[in-house]
């Protein structure tokens, strides 16, 4: 478990936080992250973050599920033990395909949904039993915090950074250690 110390600035409004981040950035300070009680649209652009690729992962999981369903159904119903049901065509996968579509679809959704959910939990490091890592309990209620690393802003001294944060409309500035890596 690796821990690191960061400087945090707390705001009591989302618009004030966005304005504060922009003000700090214009002075040349790198804001590495922000904590909020709800999703704020456009925050990731302000912080210069890239959009997540988790949807692509979901697509890949879905394709995997579809493939698995086709392989399993083909093995069980066509190769291993073909069933003659009222003399309906059942000798090839293609002939029997219409009746297989529902399960192929369901299994695709099952794999895409759960695969994406598991990826989501690991990427966010939100897993059962992990401790809370938000800088202040009120960032899940009505406060908004920005996170600044001292070693990413070597141009300024710690005191300078803290003054600049407090001038950007914050209600509190503090320093705190947090877990950055679990393994």
């Amino acid at each position: 478990m690796t821990k690191e110390k960061f400087i945090y600035g707390m705001y009591n409004d989302d618009d004030l936080m966005i304005a504060g981040i922009k003000q700090l950035q214009s002075k040349g300070i790198h804001v590495r992250d922000a904590y909020s009680p709800f999703p704020i649209h456009g925050l990731e652009d302000v912080l210069g973050m890239k959009w997540t690729r988790i949807a692509i992962a979901a697509f890949i999981y879905g394709i995997t599920g579809l493939t698995l369903a086709v392989i399993t159904i083909n093995y069980m119903m066509i190769m291993d033990w073909p069933l003659n049901i009222g003399g309906k065509p059942n000798f090839t996968f293609y002939q029997n395909l219409p009746a297989f579509i529902p399960i192929m679809f369901e299994f695709t959704v099952l794999c895409a949904g759960h695969g994406m959910a598991i990826t989501y939990f690991f990427r966010n490091m939100t897993l059962p039993g992990l401790p809370a890592r938000n800088p202040h309990p009120r960032t899940t209620d009505d406060h908004f915090a920005i996170e600044i690393a001292e070693n990413e802003n070597k141009k300024f001294s710690k005191e300078e950074i803290e003054t600049m944060i407090s001038e950007s409309g914050t209600v509190a500035v503090f320093e705190k250690e947090r877990i950055v890596k679990f393994l």
């Binding site: 409004d13 989302d14 618009d15 992250d33 922000a34 904590y35 909020s36 009680p37 709800f38 999703p39 925050l43 990731e44 912080l47 973050m49 959009w51 997540t52 988790i54 949807a55 979901a58 159904i73 069980m76 119903m77 291993d80 033990w81 069933l83 049901i85 309906k88 029997n96 009746a99 297989f100 529902p102 399960i103 369901e106 299994f107 959704v109 099952l110 895409a112 949904g113 759960h114 994406m116 959910a117 989501y120 939990f121 990427r123 966010n124 939100t126 897993l127 039993g129 992990l130 401790p131 809370a132 890592r133 938000n134 309990p137 009120r138 960032t139 899940t140 209620d141 009505d142 996170e147």
Partner: protein, 461 residues
Amino acid sequence: MVKEAEVRDPLILGKDVTYHSITEDVCAPIEGKAGKLWWGLFSVAIVLAIWGTGMILYTIGRGIGVWGLNNTVDWAWDITNFVWWVGIGHAGTLISAVLLLFRQKWRMAINRSAEAMTIFAVIMAALFPGIHMGRIWLAYFVFPVPNQFGSLWVNFNSPLLWDVFAISTYFSVSFVFWYIGLIPDFATIRDRAKGPMAKKMYSLLSFGWTGNAMAWVRFEEVSLVLAGLATPLVFSVHSIVSMDFATSVIPGWHTTIFPPYFVAGAVFSGFAMVQTLLLVVRKVLHFEHYITIQHIELMNRIITITGSIVGVAYLSELFISWYSGVEYEGYAFLNRATGPYWWSYAIMMSANVISPQLFWFKKLRTSLVFSFFLSIIVNIGMWFERFVIIVTSLHRDYIPSNWSMFHPTFVDIGVYLGTIGIFFVLFLGFTRVFPVLALNELKSILKSSGESYRDKDTGHH
């Protein structure tokens, strides 16, 4: 800040609602003590649940001979209850998925409890095919697992197997969707919790949620993609349930209109159940600011639309049974409307087709008491719809000497009432332990759709 059009009514009422007051309001039922009304409802539910559990165990112990089934009517209440519960379980994911894709913000006040209702309803539904197997310990036969009987695989051509996949996928994906939305809200409760036990419990439930920028980006993307995946799922599940009937050759079941007709009926009954529950929740937990008359009215509109679709389906069925020229098909429908079960057909028609039309009157669809009353009527009507489809199609088959009636035994009734009891125990428990409103999502619409912010000229307060 994007402002909404002035003509739209605010979704969050109250002049002094802030981010913090939303947290306070939503956490109040969890942190406070339950009132008398809650305990009253819970006691009734738990008695029914215990009685029902007893009846379920009795069924498992003695076999399904304890039900009122006979040689002719070999599917009755059990499958009726199954379809009824699955239907009810359609509204939650419809609200959270379909309305998310359509960017309907009013879903945010109701999606959490609707999804909880969905999950509990699907659990109740899944119980019925389970106990109908007779030997429930052999339930693993429905999965394509290698077994000790040689190459005995499940039949992938069978709608009953499609059902297994559809319901398990629907249940598990809905559950994950619901839980992912719950995690940030659990974190809010965790960070407010005072007692050590509560802190520990909500810490565990919130998975260590932080709420950093990237986590929210992923949250939104996952919600969107899951909504996209869940939307066809909602439609597929009840289509597949309908194919349990439609792919058979029983007159009255063998119709191609079944999938869309069942889906519309499912949404219809699901919204009615959501309406029933929300009207109680909003009163008991004091959520009048969040679940407004506007929400109730919008839900009533959906009930009217889906009820009308169901009505059109009933009439098309009747027309086609005559137009097809098939004598058995024609008789099945004539028997439904005028045979010994005419009363159940009459209940179905009046409750599902006629009664929702009353919502064309604005006065009625904005009345809380009337909405509650009508939602119960619709729930009853939809149970009778399934009863009509199942029992009246079976009880008079091709050989008149086989004709018979279905009489439920006390076990049939007990199991059915028991599932209602278990459902309410789960739902009432949910209202005490879980955040009943999606509080973090509500905060995200407070500035654009909240009364306390909208009327101000500046974005700041």
